[in-house]
């Protein structure tokens, strides 16, 4: 049944209320179960043996001693994973990343795995596996990897996007160009041109919960997987494809997820757990250590970016260009492409060109990290914007307002914008009380904008009305940040019942049709839309039941505030029937009442944010303290304001950590030096101030409630906001993220 997705500008009864989330009690009492919290009778413990080398041929793997160790029930290597990929390169990359096939491609790449009766035995077994490696030359830096002299990671890669098509192997998997106009003409018109190169180091999503799963797989090809994931349906499809299983025979249940941010959209060791389970014919529990998470899951790219922007004395930008180089780890990705698409998206430009390169190197396979690729591009662009504003002696916010994209602007990535929110967020920043706060000695203020796409996707929900009128809503989008509360609010709003009457569950893969992964800020947007339609579907059923009860045509029945009413003077004697009453009668009026909806949600809209940041930098130590931070972002409609604020604050905090401290440090030998939370330093409670938020609500015309995605955009501006703030505080332009104390001190020193 088709439903209208257009925004209806209706008045809300419960939407927008700050209600308690339904899974709150479980989470504050320790009852909620995450990936490592499930166990099965007879389960084995799985452990993975990983390459200590950045790049090496695997000449031989001798598992004989390990097999003889009492308590070891199964061992697998690359040979245990036949090729079911049917020539699909992307699937093969995933398979090879889960378990090396003849060559170790990065420090931490899986080369073998065991399942044993306990962790101790499994660890002993790993020590008994003898791997004969032949070390190969390696490369870990993105710019080094692009040089013709660099060791090639995969000899089958030919750079796509270049004419004529190259015939020799390269680490550059693709080149993408976006833009319009003629930048030579544009730069010729400029009175001032600023050109600079920036570097950002690799960071990890840093979720506190390591990857974990409990897998069973029988000889008949049917199995179960309990796993922490952002998309259990996607994981099911992936595991089934890689292992040659029937999708319907693999039931995947998503545990509660302890953080994902894009890093749990991809399988890293789940197929290995399933294969161990199949080989041993016992359940296998496989949990990654923190070190494994850093070394062998999907961090984001490290990058090197050149930005050039020109403007006239009156403050209008005449041309902008960027070359962005992103490393994707040991397998191809499209991260440089995304960076090129987002770099100038905030601005109204007549002449613009951005070129993105995707580069392979001997590092783990890069995965999405919250608005992937956008933060690094924004760091470069927003820094140059500030430099230009300073050169033109213009206020940085005014300069941005003067050049902000608006309806009718051709986006730097191609299409013409409809109504967008960059202008409003900048105006809100301009008028925000934060801007009036006095700055003291060694303090500096920075502002920055950010852009991100939001997505919809395949969504399927079930809404069932119990005999007592309680409502069970089953959705397929994993709840990463509290969306269960928002979805319950939406169901309650549509049905006209109390919020507490609705219970939301995340269904497993056997309970619902396919649901896409919770990424791209789509959770509330997509499942919310499907919930609205499922509720309307159920309302249609209830109206029919009321009509039947009254013996009148259903066209004379309306649903208002949770009750069915009979319209018309001839029906004025009929008292309204509440949802509870209709539900109670349902066994005799036609059976269970349910609403169902499959929708491909789309048109989630693009998102803009503007941040303001004040920092204080200690000139003796280079240490930076964030004193004040404000996030302004458009949410379309905040279903549950607490959780929208939470997304703004969380994204900002990750961006702050990225800007000031977080980085992957590789040694000369290509191995990761800081694979733990001690030396990979994410922000702690004492590092941050309260983070102020302002939610703008400019309705998305493609959603009945005007909802936009919100989860990702807030990580885009912080690198630049902090970069601008620190640069203002120390009087030197910072071009290398993270701006850790040694880097700041060096920058100050170099300038003197």
């Amino acid at each position: 049944m088709p439903y209208e997705t257009d925004y209806t500008n209706q008045k809300f009864s419960v939407i927008g209320n700050r209600v308690n989330r339904p899974d709150g009690v479980d989470k504050v009492t320790g009852r909620a179960r995450y990936g490592a919290d499930a166990s099965a009778a007879g389960q084995l413990v799985g452990k993975i043996l990983r390459s200590p080398h950045a790049h090496a041929l695997i000449k031989k793997i001798d598992t004989s001693k390990a097999e003889k160790l009492p308590g070891v029930k199964a061992i697998v290597t690359g040979d245990d994973f036949p090729d079911f990929t049917g020539g699909n390169r992307s699937l093969m990359d995933t398979l090879e990343n889960c378990m090396a096939r003849g060559r170790a491609l990065y420090d931490g790449h899986a080369v073998a795995a065991v399942a044993a009766v306990d962790a101790q035995t499994a660890n002993e077994a790993l020590k008994l596996i003898k791997v004969t490696y032949k070390k190969l030359p390696h490369v870990t830096d993105v710019d080094e990897a692009m040089k013709p002299s660099a060791p090639v990671v995969h000899d089958w890669i030919r750079t796509a996007g270049i004419e004529p098509a190259p015939t020799t192997a390269s680490n550059i998997s693709q080149r993408n160009e976006f833009g319009h106009g003629d930048i030579d003409v544009g730069f010729a018109e400029a009175d001032v041109i600023i050109e600079k190169t920036f570097k950002t180091e690799q960071t990890h999503q840093g979720y506190i919960e390591p990857h974990a799963c409990l897998a069973t797989l029988g000889p008949d090809g049917s199995g179960e997987l309990w796993v922490t994931t952002q998309g259990h349906f996607t994981f099911r499809n992936m595991c089934a494809s890689l292992l040659g299983l029937d999708v319907a025979k693999l039931k995947v249940t998503s545990s509660e997820i302890g953080g994902g941010f894009g890093g749990k959209t991809h399988v890293w060791m789940e197929p290995v757990a399933l294969q161990l389970a199949r080989k041993s014919n016992r359940p296998v529990k496989l949990v990654m250590t923190r070190e494994e998470v850093f070394k062998a899951t999907g961090p984001t790219s490290s990058t090197s970016v050149d930005v050039k922007i020109g403007a006239k004395k009156n403050g209008r930008i005449t041309a902008a260009s960027a070359e962005l180089r992103y490393q994707s780890g040991a397998f191809p990705g499209m991260w440089g492409m995304l960076g090129a698409m987002t770099s100038f998206a905030c601005y109204d430009l007549k002449h613009v060109k951005s070129v993105g390169y995707d580069v392979l190197c001997n590092r783990p396979k890069v995965a999405a990290y919250r608005a992937p690729s956008a933060p690094m591009a924004a760091f470069g662009v927003e820094s140059v914007i500030d430099l230009l504003a300073a050169e033109l002696k213009m206020d940085p916010v005014e300069f941005r307002i003067k050049n902000a994209a608006k309806k009718g602007t051709r986006a730097s990535y191609g299409p013409i914008y409809g109504p967008i929110g960059i202008g409003p967020t900048l105006e809100a920043v301009k008028n925000h009380p934060h801007m009036k706060k006095r700055l003291g000695k060694n303090q500096g203020r920075g502002v920055a904008c950010g852009f991100w796409f939001n997505f919809g996707g395949q969504t399927c929900t079930d809404l069932n009305i119990g005999i007592d009128g309680s409502v069970n809503l089953t959705v397929g989008t994993v709840d990463v940040g509290g969306s269960r509360a928002s979805l319950a609010l939406i169901a309650a709003e549509e049905l006209g019942v109390d919020y507490d009457q609705v219970r939301v569950t995340i269904g497993d893969t056997s309970s619902l049709g396919h649901n896409d992964t919770t990424e791209g800020s789509r959770g509330t947007f997509s499942s919310g839309m499907a919930t609205i339609f499922a509720a309307r579907n159920a309302i249609d059923v209830m109206k029919q039941r009321a009509a039947d009860t009254w013996g009148i045509p259903v066209e004379q029945v309306v649903w208002e505030e949770g009750v069915a009413r009979a319209k018309g003077r001839q029906n004025s004697n009929l008292p309204p029937l509440s949802l509870k009453e209709i539900a109670a009668k349902s066994p005799r009026t036609g059976g269970p009442i349910a609403g169902h909806n499959e929708v491909v949600a789309d048109g989630a809209g693009v998102s803009f944010a503007s941040h303001i940041c004040d920092v204080e930098v200690d000139p003796e130590t280079g240490s930076t303290r964030v004193i004040r931070y404000t996030v302004v972002q458009d949410a379309g409609k905040a279903i549950h304001p607490d959780y929208v604020e939470g997304q703004f604050q969380g994204g900002a905090a990750q961006g702050i950590g990225w800007a000031l401290n977080e980085e992957y440090i590789y040694g000369e030998d290509g191995t990761l030096q800081n694979a733990g939370f001690l030396d990979y330093r994410i922000p702690v409670c004492s590092d941050l101030p309260f983070i102020d938020t302002e939610i703008l609500e400019i309705p998305n015309p493609n959603h009945p409630y005007g909802v936009r995605g919100v989860g990702e955009t807030s990580i885009v501006p912080p690198l630049a906001a902090i970069g601008n703030a620190v640069s203002n505080a120390v009087g030197v332009r910072m071009t290398h993220v993270p701006m850790s104390p040694p880097r700041i001190l060096k920058a100050i020193e170099d300038a003197q």
Binding site: I208, Y643, I682, C685
Partner: protein, 161 residues
């Protein structure tokens, strides 16, 4: 490897378990006593997700041996609510939306309860430094600090009456 027999108290209840000498208290609590509220985030004492109290002292259970708990009293998140009633900290965390994914929440609750037990009226700075041993990646700590401030207020009022 022979096991060590340990008698201890967990959340007020007497327990007994046998574990290898090198097994952490965290693994004992999670795998032998089924108290999965204790979470392993790093295994090296850097994230605080495994926080418990050991004779009222806040510790990372991944850095304590199961054998070291002999004769001692352990407090986990499962013991924070009393007689089926949520503790003011638990209520405050829910009310203030101080959790998103919730994985760090048990550790924060144990740490916050330990703080308020020592300092019933902490300043914002004192709260932030006392909780600096607990990592959260979702919230940016803003609502967590507000929840602790709010719970502290409630607890001070309760004590008065």
């Amino acid at each position: 490897m022979s096991g060590v027999t340990v008698s201890a108290k967990v959340n007020g209840d007497a327990v007994q378990y046998v574990c290898p000498p090198n097994e952490s208290l965290m693994d004992v609590l999670r795998n032998r006593l089924n108290l999965t509220g204790v979470k392993e985030g790093c295994g090296t004492g850097d994230c605080g997700a495994c926080s418990v109290t050991l004779d009222d002292r806040l510790v990372c259970s991944c850095l304590v041996l199961g054998a070291e708990a002999e004769g001692r009293s352990i407090g986990t998140v499962e013991g924070i609510s009393q007689d089926g009633e949520l503790h003011p900290l638990q209520t405050a965390f829910i009310d203030h939306a101080a959790l998103q994914c919730g994985i760090c929440t048990p550790g924060f609750l144990v740490a916050a309860k330990s703080l308020l037990g020592r300092n019933p009226n902490p300043s914002e700075e004192e709260i932030r430094y006392a909780l600096a041993g607990n990592l959260c990646r979702c919230t940016g700590y803003d609502k967590i600090v507000r929840a602790v401030q709010s719970a502290a207020k409630v607890m001070r009022k309760q004590k008065k009456s």
